[in-house]
């Protein structure tokens, strides 16, 4: 990539300690810097942007799941009064995709459509009603193709192909298979077959959506200076910037991407999307600014949500409960496009090798294309599904061995400063402490196996990355860059390419810079996610920002700090290292009375040096296994989480109520404890919703006309939990202080989701002796499992609880018997 240029080895980590003395900002329970603005309605989101002469755009979508486009006639739409421009796929023929090896998307369909809701054309008009009316005037001729809704069918049937060409435009050679990864570490079969205990089961994880409250929105302006500006509700402005340049065939320097405040994303805004290209093209054609806001229904078609997975798992341990091997075979339903699917396929195996140590491991994961809305990354990308399977398998093994599930996990620890079976480097690891914390907080020892029938506790553990070691496109440039400017007004301005999507990354950047420069939070202003103003950062995905952009922030702050200390030291006539910066002052460490304000200190520094600014960068150390794909899943540091859940099961209705979660998360160091707790709560809430409530479901019975339609593309039917449906969550922070993270920090945004789902499954076993393996755990499935269990044995359940047969059949039988007795 670097064309003979030697890559600069960037080692910008400054270790876990405070710049001097104790931390003054880090670890404080501070508000998010944008919290009040969002609560009061002051914050500007993309849809709040109104530009002079702005048009409104709408997208025409395919009513067919799989069809060739024979012709598109837009003439009647163009003739409608109030319509300014129409765009179709042939005007933007260059394919794109967030992963550069799988560019299989067009801004608008060029030759065929691949799911109901696929984008076909877009119209810009004076208002939304006119744009909608114009859509109805676009005539599209389709030739229907056989659709694929069942991933098993895609696996074996290669014609007709959903994607006919590969990245180079050559015939696609893998039928309807998107990606297969088979990796084996050690002699798995021998390790499992000869083991004392083996468990083997099938698991199903259903599709779920991100459901951010803000739908996707984009506004474009093509200025008379030839600069194209896009405001978009994206979490990856840099990748959108690159994709716009590629698809619009424009030099990147003439494009500016700005991300306004974002109303949630959760991975659902981490691809470039059709509307972003369309508003740009329509703005260029109409010479007017153009806005497009998706409806809620459209966000369900845009999707990129959690991949449905069918998972076969085999796990074994020895007589003492030490795991000997894990073997999985996973079928992944990718929907109609690749999106991040290559990575998803790897992640379904690569991210599983801690905190439980595997001596041997094999995974064989296959992602297939189907004619459904495209799947992608959702919080806990790729690993939430297999984690669900694995953590149930571990509990089943613990049960077989006769070990407490927490003790079982202690016995199988993938320790700190170690290598996993697949070659990932574990640095810090606070998992044992996480286990201790949830064991204590949940009252585990008094509850496990001891609660009345229908009530139980369960737990699960997990691990997640703090960013991926490699950018999605290969390059040797920094992953994160930052610019900090100091001003004689006393203000530090932080220019960061990071996307605050509600997770609070801008507040983290502000906290880190304030710590380095001894400022209060109100003396730091963050300018984020504007490709004209801010240095490149790769975006808000894979939980990378705190560690990566955080290190860059500390690095830039540290450079300026040294200058300030030098100037103030000269002023006080003391050595620079004797100058303390804290709470908006610079003072003599030996004599606290000798002090000046930060503003005065910056004036002195500007006088001594010059205009004050510093950049900071971060790039990852070399990590990962030495094999093809070994770098996927490699991260500078891993977070660890333990979940305990207490549930009650209504054995008459089959309804599951999650009474409470206790979650301990090892985030390295909590830069902002309130935000870490918020991420633990939000992740656990989101996971809990996937257990029972949420299902992104497409009608899949090919014989019915409904096939291919999304079952419930609205927030009335796609039931995200209300406050009444949200369990109590006791969020605990464990700080392992990582050597690579900024002041020792690791991620907190995604890890604390994983265990919430299997912890509930394991608690249901404790409550009533059934192992549920197919999500979502609908009441009907619970009742069926209870009956199956009663059918197989009338003996007391494994944890010694007696159960009453509550099935309707049994009740009616008893009723009939009682009647007989009466007469």
């Amino acid at each position: 990539m670097a064309g003979g240029i030697e890559r600069k080895v960037i080692n910008t980590t400054h270790g876990p300690d405070a710049p001097h003395g104790d931390f003054t900002r880090v670890g404080q329970r501070a508000r998010k810097i944008d919290g009040i603005g969002k609560a009061t309605g002051e914050a500007v989101y993309t849809d709040d942007i109104v530009l002079p002469g702005m048009l409104h755009a709408k997208t025409l979508r395919s009513p067919h799941a799989h069809a060739k486009i024979l012709s598109i006639d837009t003439s009647r739409a163009l003739a409608l009064a109030g319509v300014h421009a129409v765009v179709v796929g042939s005007e933007m023929p260059v394919k794109y995709g967030v992963i550069p090896w799988t560019p299989d998307e067009n801004a608008l369909a060029t030759d065929k459509v691949r799911f109901i809701g696929d984008e076909v054309a877009a119209v810009a008009a004076i208002d939304e009603d006119t744009a909608n009316a114009a859509l109805a005037l676009i005539d599209v001729e389709y030739e229907l193709l056989e659709p694929f809704f069942d991933p098993h069918k895609s696996l074996v049937q290669s014609e007709p192909q959903i994607h006919e060409t590969d990245a180079r435009g050559q015939p696609y050679k893998k039928g309807n298979i998107s990606k297969n990864v088979l990796l084996e570490f050690g002699e798995v079969d021998a390790a499992i077959d000869g083991a004392a205990h083996v468990v083997e089961d099938d698991y199903v994880f259903h599709g779920t959506a991100h459901a951010p409250i803000e739908p996707h929105c984009a506004v474009a302006r093509f200025g008379s200076d030839g600069v194209l500006t896009l405001w978009s509700s994206t979490q990856i402005p840099h990748y959108v910037h690159r994709a716009l340049a590629r698809v619009l065939e424009m030099p990147a320097h003439r494009i500016r991407v700005i991300q306004p405040h974002l109303g949630g994303a959760f991975g659902g805004k981490s691809d470039p999307f059709s509307l972003e290209f369309c508003v740009c093209k329509l703005a260029m054609k109409s010479k007017r600014p153009v806005k497009m806001l998706y409806t809620r229904e459209e966000t369900f078609y845009t999707h990129r949500g959690r991949h449905p997975m069918e998972m076969h798992f085999r796990t074994a341990c020895d007589a003492e409960g030490r795991v000997t091997g894990v073997d999985s075979k996973i079928l992944i339903d990718g929907g109609s496009y690749s999106s991040f699917g290559l990575v998803t396929t790897y992640y379904s195996g690569q991210l599983l090798t801690g905190p439980c140590h595997f001596p041997t491991y094999r995974f064989d994961s296959t992602r297939v294309f189907t004619n459904k809305p495209p799947c992608g990354p959702k919080r806990g990308h790729g690993s939430v599904q297999p984690r669900f399977a694995l953590e149930i398998q571990l509990d089943r093994l613990a049960t077989k061995v006769g070990l407490d599930p927490i003790e079982f996990r202690r016995r199988n620890l993938q320790a700190e400063n170690s290598q996993t079976v697949n070659g990932q480097t574990i640095t810090s690891n606070g998992y044992l402490e996480c286990l201790d914390v949830v064991e204590e907080a949940s009252g585990w020892k008094d509850k496990r196996g001891k609660l009345p029938f229908g009530r139980g506790v369960g737990m699960a553990g997990s691990m997640y990355i703090s960013g991926t070691n490699y950018a999605v496109y290969p390059n040797d440039m920094p992953q994160a860059g930052i610019l900090v400017k100091l001003d004689r007004s006393g203000l530090a301005q932080v220019y960061t390419g990071t996307s605050d999507i509600g997770q609070g990354s801008s507040s983290v950047m502000a906290t880190l810079v304030a710590e380095e420069l001894g400022l209060r939070l109100d003396q730091v202003r963050v300018i984020a996610a504007d490709t004209d103003l801010t240095p490149v950062d790769l975006g808000a995905y894979s939980s990378r920002i705190t560690l990566m952009a955080g290190n860059a922030s500390v690095d830039a702050g540290r450079k300026l700090r040294k200058q300030v200390q030098a100037a103030v030291g000269e002023h006080f006539d003391i050595p620079p290292q004797q100058v303390m910066l804290a709470e908006g002052f610079a003072f003599d460490r030996e004599d606290g009375e000798r002090r000046i304000t930060s503003q005065q200190a910056f004036e002195l520094t500007e006088t001594k040096f010059e205009t004050l600014a510093a950049t900071g960068s971060y790039n990852t150390p070399d990590r990962g296994g030495d094999y093809r794909g070994g770098t996927i899943g490699a991260s500078p540091a891993y977070s660890f989480t333990a979940h305990a859940a207490e549930v009650s099961v209504d054995t008459e209705t089959g309804e599951i109520k999650i009474e409470k979660f206790w979650v301990a998360h090892d985030c390295g160091r909590a830069i902002s404890p309130v935000q870490v707790e918020g991420q633990i709560e939000g992740s656990t809430y989101m996971g809990a919703a996937e257990v029972v409530l949420e299902s992104h479901d497409v009608y899949s019975d090919e014989s019915h006309v409904e096939a291919g339609l999304h079952r419930r593309p609205s927030l009335l039917e796609y039931t995200i939990p209300t406050s009444l449906d949200t369990p109590e969550i006791d969020a605990r922070i464990v700080e392992s202080i990582d050597p690579e993270g900024p002041y020792g920090a690791k991620e907190a945004g995604e890890g604390p989701l994983h265990g919430s789902i299997p912890a509930v499954a394991n608690a249901i076993y404790d409550a009533c002796g059934i192992w549920l393996t197919e999500l979502p755990f609908s009441p009907g499935k619970v009742l069926a499992a209870l009956r199956a269990k009663q059918g197989e044995t009338s003996a007391p359940s494994p944890n010694g609880k007696a159960s009453a047969d509550t099935s309707v059949e049994a009740i009616r039988a008893r009723l009939a018997a009682a009647k007989k007795g009466k007469s």
Partner: protein
Amino acid sequence: MLRLPTFTYESPATIDEVLALLADNPGRARLVAGGTDLLPNMKHGIEEADIVVSLSRLPGLSALAELPDGGVSIGAMMTLETLASHPTVRARYPSLAQAVGLVAGPHHRRMGTLGGNVCLNTRCVYINQTHFWRESLGYCLKKDGSACHVVKGGKRCVAAASNDSAPVLMTLGARLVLTSQARGERIVGIDDFFQRDGVQNKVLEADEMLLRVELPAPAAGLHGAYMKLRVRDSIDFPRLSVAVAFALRDGAVHDLAIVVSALAAVPQRMRNVTELAEGRAPDEGLFEEIGAACFGQCHPLSNIDGDATYRREMVPVYVKRALRAAIEGGVSS
């Protein structure tokens, strides 16, 4: 967001003006009270109207009045929130207060009215969708088409009655006062108000409006309760609903009424349960028998979200729970 179609908005100050607008624009005018049902349906293109007539300026339609026979009359424009917390209703008809307190979420109950809930449109997984969705599927006989996607080859719409108020009002013997310009006021018993057609499951004529709901005086020892199956504890429409009412005198059940709804186009009054329960002690044995009797009469379709087999299975469970709840807390005073 989804756009409302264009319409003329009228906000008359008298009932006569409302009725004139309905009479003068046959089939083209729709009444709006809280709008929580009509407006989403208009956005989906399920309801169409050239003229939307607001009832918000009409005087006297939001009050509760005592009737000479000891019953009450409740104005159709009383909000669900007001009704749920009304002291008279809570004291004398607690199951009604309970049911309307379970309609949708707090915001909907603040806007939505009793009349609106009684007249709520039926619901179906194939109809409560956008134009785009329904066009992709092929329109159905409830709106714009001729096929039924729930019952293959079905000629009658089976969209589900989804109002929480209706089953309770049926167990309480409510009467509805309707009026029109052409025919003046008429009183319809609530059982006769609903008809087995999901397209229009009410006998309310296009030129007619609902004025009041009248409830007879509660019988001595009246007990009642309402149970609603739904996935969340707020917002959702029922996947199954059960209302029960009976008089408990001298330790025996009298005049048991049970209505099960959210199964088909009309709320379904359970047969034979009155006879089964008459004069018997309200114990678990009786509840089991009644539950089994109801199960045999209920045949939910795949018309709304939630597995039909499971919804059916929950009929006896919810009937029993409603009966227990009525014994424990649902007594009129």
